[in-house]
Symmetry: C2
Subunit: 344 residues, 2 copies
C-alpha cells in the first residue's frame, strides 16, 4: 500500500478538485491509500454521495488555510492547524507515508518541506523542479527553479543528480540529457559560478551532461533537464510562462478584432484546443521538491481534479522507483565508486 | 552634422542591407554623414547606380570580416583589418564621430567597444541594453542582458541610471519605470545581490524605481526598464525570444496539419502579418551598448535595410539628446546633489 497525503485547500478549485482527484486516483489504484487534510466538514460535503473504498481514505481535520499572500516563514510557524501543515506533520511523523500533494502557497510549501520534513542524507538543499511540455511531445525539467537562490557549485551538481533520478523515476527517461543554463554554448562561457560548475558536471558519472544550454533552447527538445541556480531558473520558467501567455492573449485580441479573423478561427476550433492541451502543464503533473525525506509535489494553484490525480500518481511513481533511496545512495557514494545510476 | 559609422559586414543580408539602410538614412536626414567600413569593392558594387549625396558618404576599406563563430577576444586582436574593427578604430580616434552601427558578432562588438572605445567617466562596466516590443504598443529595455555576468550591487545601480537615460533619449519616455528583476514582488525577496541592490535603487533619485519585477511580467506593459545582472538578463531575453519563436512554430505546424485549419488561416493572412510586425524587434531598433565613450548600436544579424536605418537613427537620437554627457554627469554627481535627471 502507498500512502499519499492530499492537502485539500489553498487552490482555486479547492476542496472540490482536490477531493475528486483523490477519489479518481483511489478508484484507479487499488494499492493507494489517501489521507485528506483540511476542514473535515467541507471535505465530507465533497465526499457526500460519492462511492469510494472507505478503508483506503482517511480525513485529518485541520481548519485553517495558508494563503498565497502570506509570508511563508510566518505562515508555517503561525498556522500549525492549516491543511498544509497537517500534511507536512504527517510526512514528518508517520514513516508509512510516501509523500504529499498540495496546490497551496509554493513559498510556504518549500519552506515547510525544507524545515519540517527534513533533507535526505547528503543533500545540501532541496530543489524545486517543475517539468514543462517542450512543444515537441517531450518534457523538460528545470532544477532548481526557485527553492535556493544563492548556490555554491557543488549544490548545482546535486541538482543535476537529483533531477536526473527524478526524470528517470517519474517520466521513464532512461538517460536524461542534462544542460547547464548559461549565456552561450561554448565551454568557457559564463559567470564565476557556471565556470566552476561546468567541470563538476562534466566529471560526474551519474548524469548524462551534454554541455551548456542557452535559454532560447529550453523548448527545443534537445534537453531533458536544465541545471541552474534558483534565481536564474526562476527567471527562466517565469519568462517562458509569461511569454507564452502574452502571445496567446495577443492572438486572442487579434482574432476578436475583425469578423473575418473570427470566421477563420471558426475553422480552427479543434486546433486551438489541441494547442492548449499541448501547452497545458497540468497534464504533466506538478513540480516536485527534490531532496526532502518524503516526496512533496506542488500542483498548480488552478489544478483540476485530473491534475491532482496526476500529482498523486507522481508520488506513487517516485515511491515505486525508490527515487529518494537512489538519491541518497548516489549522493553518498565516493566519487570513484559511482556509476550505480543504471544499476539501481 | 552627425557622423555615424556603419560596419557593412557580418550580417545575413550584408553588405546589401547595410548600404541600402545607410542610403535611406542619408536621404532622410540632411545633417547625417555616414562612413561605411568594409571591403571597398563590394560596397561600391552596392552603391552602383544609386543616387545619394556623395559629400556625406565615405568608405573606409577593411577587407576582412569577424564571423559569429569566432572567439571574441581572439577575433578583435587578430582581425584588425575587419569591417568591425575599422569602425571601432574610428570611434576611438575620431572625436567628430558620434557612434556606430554593426550587425556582426555581438560578443566581438561588446568586447571591442569595452576594450577599445573605452568607458565614460565613472562607468564601472558597459551594459548591453536591447529593447523589446512589450505586446502592448510599448517597449521594454533589459539592462544588462549579457555584457557583464558577474556584477557587484553598485553596477546594477549604474545600469538603472544608464538605461533610464537611454530610454529618455532614444524613446522619449520621460520617467522610465524601472523594475529590478527578482524571484518575487515583495521587497525582501531575492538572492544576496538583489537584497543589496534593492535599497540602492530605492535611494537613487535619478531613476523612477517601481520595485521588484517577476520575469513573467516582462511583457505586461508595466515596466519600461528591467535592471539585472548580465547572466539573468541574458536568460530573460533569450527565453522570451525562444518561447515566442517556438509558439509561432507550433502554430504554423498546427495550421499546416489540416486543410480546414489552412482554410481558416486564409481569412487571417493580414492578422498574422500584423502580429509578426508587432513582434518584429527590428522595428524597434538595435541593442545599444551603454557606458562606452561613443554610442554603439548592435542590430540583429538578420537586419533589413529598414532595420539598419532605424539603428542609425538611434545613434542620432542619442547624440541629439546628449545621452553620454547625461550619463557621465549623473554618475559623477555626489549623492546629495543629484536630481538633475529632469533638468538636463
Amino acid at each position: 500500500m502507498i500512502k499519499v497525503v492530499v492537502d485539500c485547500f489553498g487552490g482555486d478549485n479547492s476542496p472540490k478538485a482536490n477531493v475528486e482527484g483523490a477519489l479518481e486516483a483511489l478508484s484507479e489504484y487499488s494499492k493507494l491509500y489517501v489521507i485528506l487534510t483540511g476542514d473535515e466538514e467541507k471535505i465530507n460535503a465533497e465526499l457526500q454521495g460519492k462511492s469510494y473504498d472507505k478503508d483506503r481514505l482517511q480525513i485529518i481535520h485541520a481548519p485553517s488555510v495558508i494563503g498565497c499572500d502570506e509570508k511563508p516563514t510566518d505562515a508555517i510557524r503561525q498556522k500549525r492547524d492549516s491543511s498544509m501543515m497537517a500534511a507536512i506533520d504527517l510526512l514528518r511523523t508517520d514513516d508509512t507515508v510516501a509523500g504529499m500533494v498540495s496546490v497551496g502557497s509554493t513559498g510556504a510549501l518549500i519552506a515547510a518541506a525544507t524545515l519540517r520534513v527534513g533533507r535526505l542524507q547528503g543533500v545540501m538543499r532541496p530543489a524545486f523542479c517543475p517539468v514543462l511540455p517542450d512543444m515537441h511531445d517531450g518534457v523538460v525539467g528545470i532544477c532548481d527553479s526557485g527553492a535556493t537562490v544563492d548556490c555554491p557549485p557543488e549544490m548545482l551538481k546535486q541538482f543535476a543528480v537529483m533531477g536526473s533520478i527524478y526524470l528517470q523515476s517519474a517520466f521513464n527517461i532512461e538517460n536524461p540529457r542534462v544542460g547547464l543554463l548559461n549565456v552561450g554554448a561554448e565551454e568557457e562561457k559564463g559567470d564565476k559560478l557556471r565556470k566552476e560548475v561546468y567541470p563538476l558536471l562534466a566529471a560526474e558519472p551519474n548524469i548524462y551532461f551534454v554541455g551548456n544550454m542557452e535559454a532560447r533552447d529550453l523548448l527545443s527538445g534537445d534537453y531533458d533537464l536544465v541545471v541552474c541556480d534558483g534565481f536564474s531558473g526562476n527567471v527562466l520558467i517565469k519568462s517562458t510562462e509569461g511569454t507564452a501567455l502574452e502571445m496567446l492573449k495577443l492572438l486572442k485580441r487579434s482574432i476578436y478584432s475583425s469578423w473575418k479573423y473570427k470566421l477563420g478561427a471558426a475553422f480552427q476550433k479543434k486546433m486551438f484546443s489541441d494547442i492548449k492541451q499541448t501547452m497545458n502543464y497540468q497534464n504533466y503533473g506538478g513540480s516536485v521538491i527534490l531532496g526532502t525525506r518524503k516526496t512533496v509535489v506542488k500542483g498548480h494553484g488552478s489544478s483540476s481534479a485530473k491534475a491532482i490525480k496526476i500529482c498523486i500518481e507522481q508520488v506513487c511513481s517516485a515511491e515505486n522507483a525508490k527515487m529518494n533511496e537512489k538519491i541518497e545512495k548516489t549522493l553518498s557514494l565516493p566519487a570513484e565508486n559511482k556509476e550505480i545510476f543504471s544499476k539501481l
